[in-house]
């Protein structure tokens, strides 16, 4: 229940932030990596750094993380198959993997794991539709329900809180 409320809160904050649809879309696309791929991997450190340092919606990133984590679990078998096909069944890619496996630092990315590679590839493919869908949804929302919802007391309470001010640091 608490997780659901937090998710709702995050959704409201994101939709009512000053972030542009483009920034929210990018934040969602980046944050999806945290949910779709196994979290404890080097590429996710880079994703978090990008979320912090790039002018994208951090809240959207966290929201995407929460939203896409169950999707990631569901898609694991597909990711395993994609990774297996790329790593083991495609002979023309073997020289590339071999070279990468013997390149300094690269093996620490765990690219040799079928689920990691498959999910990263899956995320890269899905990030474009995620970005476009999130951007479209924000634009639609703001032109339809956004103004009315801003007048709700609960939304005003959340946006007036001190935590919200800190939160705003990460928004454009």
């Amino acid at each position: 229940m608490i997780a659901l409320l937090k998710l709702l809160q995050s959704l409201v904050k994101t939709l009512h932030s000053d972030g542009t649809p483009h920034q929210i879309g990018l934040g969602m696309a980046l944050g999806a990596a945290l949910g779709l791929t196994p979290i404890a991997n080097v590429h996710n450190v880079i994703v978090v750094v990008l979320l912090i340092m790039l002018n994208v919606s951090f809240g959207a990133g966290l929201l995407a993380w929460a939203l896409f984590t169950p999707v990631g679990f569901l898609l694991d078998p597909a990711f395993d198959r994609i990774g297996g096909a790329l790593l083991l069944e495609n002979a023309s890619l073997q020289p590339l993997w071999t070279r990468l496996d013997h390149t300094p630092f690269v093996p620490f990315t765990n690219f040799g794991n079928t689920v990691v590679l498959g999910s990263v590839i899956g995320w890269l493919i899905l990030s474009v539709p995620i970005y476009l869908a999130a951007r479209l949804a924000v634009v639609r929302y703001r032109t339809t329900y956004g103004t009315r919802l801003r007048q709700w007391r609960i939304v005003q309470t959340v946006t007036a809180s001190r935590a919200y001010n800190v939160w705003q640091w990460f928004h454009a």
């Binding site: 404890a40 071999t98 040799g112």
Partner: protein
């Protein structure tokens, strides 16, 4: 909409540096506080999984600048005895090469192990090995391997209980095979009868006979031109019918040949099953063990297999962890909430393997006043996860270099996993070494072999195994096992013979394949015991065996012999029937050809 504000178009959010620095600082603090603990736990867990036995590490210190790792208080439990440690070291210093670390590879430059103890007792039993690791599977495979040995029980049945057996005919293989033969014979007979009836020979032969009789004594002058032409046509048509009938007979012969051969082999198999029935009947007699090879295997079988099963276990691990070739190496991914997947490492020629110990020279000291105390030198070379990358087989050698117990030891081995080969061989030879103590199966005696010489050799090439264990103990003690049960006359004799021996010379061997290993043990004990038991029991045993054989013969005569005779009769009749058909067709054809000649056709 805020899209158009200049602030929104900036790419970098410089304010993010503050939380990023905070996160990095937190990560650094976390590394300092927890990294060594995490690495220690991970190392112990990975080692437990790899070796298939519990591994404990008290402390792990990382020296990032050198780079090296120091392990303190390392204990490896014995995979076959939870209350023993196979190996204990107070400190292990591992110096690594730095460049391969950047490729996530461990190349050990120097390995130093201090204060090693082997075979020490544990305070608490070691937890079982992780069930999902290869080692656990290997352990299961070794237990399966061990269970394949047919180690006979040492049976010293009292003379007065050698029983007169009453055989149940249905238990005998001869009778079972004969019953199957009867079914086969019935089936063959039915098939031959049906197919023979389908030949329609009678009609063909009657037609041929009719044509031959009609033309008997006729010539072209009597028949005229048209009559002769008609007669020639009739004869040729009939000859064609005979030819077709002959082909049908040949087809029948071919189709029934396999059935008839089955009957012949069935009859032979019934004869062959008789030997197995004699052995079965003899087994029911519960005769005491008096053949020397059986006694040797019964007394020393288990203790010998224990020696070899450990070598098979380590060989299984070596074959998995040191695979030949340069194909990508697959292993299950790390444990996590998400799916583990499969982790693949890509091996490349002329590069660093994932792990390599180029050379390790260890001087071990086993302290105390035990028999194994002293100093040892162990050398290991080319221990690697990718032998084909290193291009050299893994070698090891061990020798005892000092100590006051009078024991000498030397040994070595090669694990050659190059170019698709999988050959592991090792030899260890020791003198003055403590030999195992073990219970004599079937007797309330415990053998204390004391000190002696032991030479253990094992060679595994693919699936083929070859091993030998030679033991010589000159000061053997025999102790009662404490159960104190009453002995029968034969057991008393065996105990008297065995306890009269002061020395044991044992020669055991294992051969064959992993799936079908064969154990053979010879010793002076089994020769002496077999000779004495035979002297005492020879006459009794011979009489009981004669009785069992007579019973088997009688049952075979009553139950199997008639079926064999019937099967042979069916076979003979079928062959005769086919031969008769062929002869009658040939006779008819010869007769018609004669008619054709008399009509002036050549």
């Amino acid at each position: 909409m805020p899209d158009d504000t200049p602030r929104s178009r900036r790419v970098i959010r410089w304010r993010g540096i503050i939380p990023l620095c905070l996160a990095i600082a937190l990560a650094a603090v976390g590394y300092v506080l927890f990294a060594e603990r995490i690495v220690r736990d991970t190392t112990a867990e990975a080692a437990s999984k790899m070796l298939g036995t519990h591994v404990e590490i008290d402390r792990l210190t990382m020296h990032e600048t050198e780079p090296s790792v120091e392990l303190v208080g390392v204990r490896i439990a014995d995979p076959f005895d939870a209350m023993k440690n196979l190996f204990e070291a107070s400190r292990i210093q591992i110096e690594l090469e730095s460049d391969p670390l950047l490729e996530r590879k461990l190349i050990v430059r120097r390995l130093a192990i201090e204060s090693v103890r082997v075979g020490t007792a544990r305070q608490r039993p070691a937890p079982p090995a992780p069930r999902d690791g290869f080692a656990a599977i290997a352990l299961g495979a070794v237990k399966q391997w061990r269970s394949q040995f047919d180690v006979p029980l040492l049976s010293l049945t009292p003379l007065d209980t050698i029983r007169s057996i009453v055989l149940d005919p249905s238990q005998l293989q001869t009778v079972q095979r004969a019953l199957r033969l009867r079914t086969e014979a019935d089936s063959v007979r039915a098939a031959v009868t049906t197919e023979y009836a389908g030949l329609a020979l009678r009609q063909t032969l009657d037609s041929a006979r009719s044509v031959a009789e009609r033309l008997q004594g006729q010539n072209p002058l009597q028949l005229g031109i048209n009559g002769t032409r008609q007669a020639v046509t009739d004869v040729r048509r009939t000859l064609n019918e005979l030819q077709a009938a002959r082909r049908r007979v040949e087809d029948l012969e071919r189709s029934t040949r396999s059935g008839l051969e089955l009957l012949a082999s069935g009859v032979q198999e019934v004869d062959d099953a008789r030997a197995a029935d004699f052995a079965f009947a003899r087994g029911l007699l519960k005769l005491p063990t008096f053949a020397a090879p059986d006694i040797g295997n019964a007394v020393f079988g288990q203790v010998t297999i224990e020696r070899f099963q450990q070598l098979v276990y380590w060989s299984e691990l070596a074959q998995d962890h040191l695979p030949p070739g340069l194909d990508p190496r697959r292993k299950p991914g790390p444990q996590r909430a998400r799916a583990a997947g499969t982790t693949v490492r890509f091996v490349q020629d002329r590069s660093y393997p994932s792990f390599l110990l180029r050379r390790g020279d260890l001087d071990l000291t086993i302290s105390g006043d035990g028999a194994t105390s002293g100093t040892y030198r162990v050398g290991i070379a080319n221990l690697t996860t990718a032998p084909d990358v290193v291009g050299l087989p893994m070698q090891f050698a061990v020798s005892r270099t000092g100590g006051g117990s009078g024991m000498s030891l030397r040994g070595g081995g090669v694990m050659d996993h190059l170019g698709g080969r999988m050959r592991d061989s090792m030899m260890i030879s020791a003198a003055g070494v403590p030999l195992p103590s073990f219970d004599i199966p079937g007797l309330p005696l415990r053998a204390e072999l004391g000190r002696g010489t032991s030479r253990l050799m094992f060679d595994r090439a693919g699936d083929q195994i070859r091993g030998s264990w030679n033991v010589r103990a000159a000061d053997v003690a025999w102790a009662p096992d404490g159960k104190g049960r009453a002995l029968n006359r034969l057991e008393e004799l065996a105990v008297r013979v065995i306890t009269g021996l002061d020395d044991i010379e044992l020669s055991a061997s294992v051969s064959g394949t992993m799936e079908s290993p064969v154990l053979s043990v010879r010793s002076n004990l089994d020769r002496v015991l077999a000779s004495r038991v035979r002297e005492v029991l020879g006459e009794e045993v011979a009489r009981a065996e004669r009785e069992a054989r007579t019973q088997v013969e009688r049952i075979v005569r009553e139950r199997a012999a008639p079926i064999q005779a019937e099967a042979l009769r069916i076979r003979t009749e079928a062959e005769q029937q086919i031969a008769d058909a062929r002869a009658r067709l040939d006779t008819a054809r010869t007769e018609l050809e004669g008619r054709l000649r008399s009509l002036g056709v050549r």
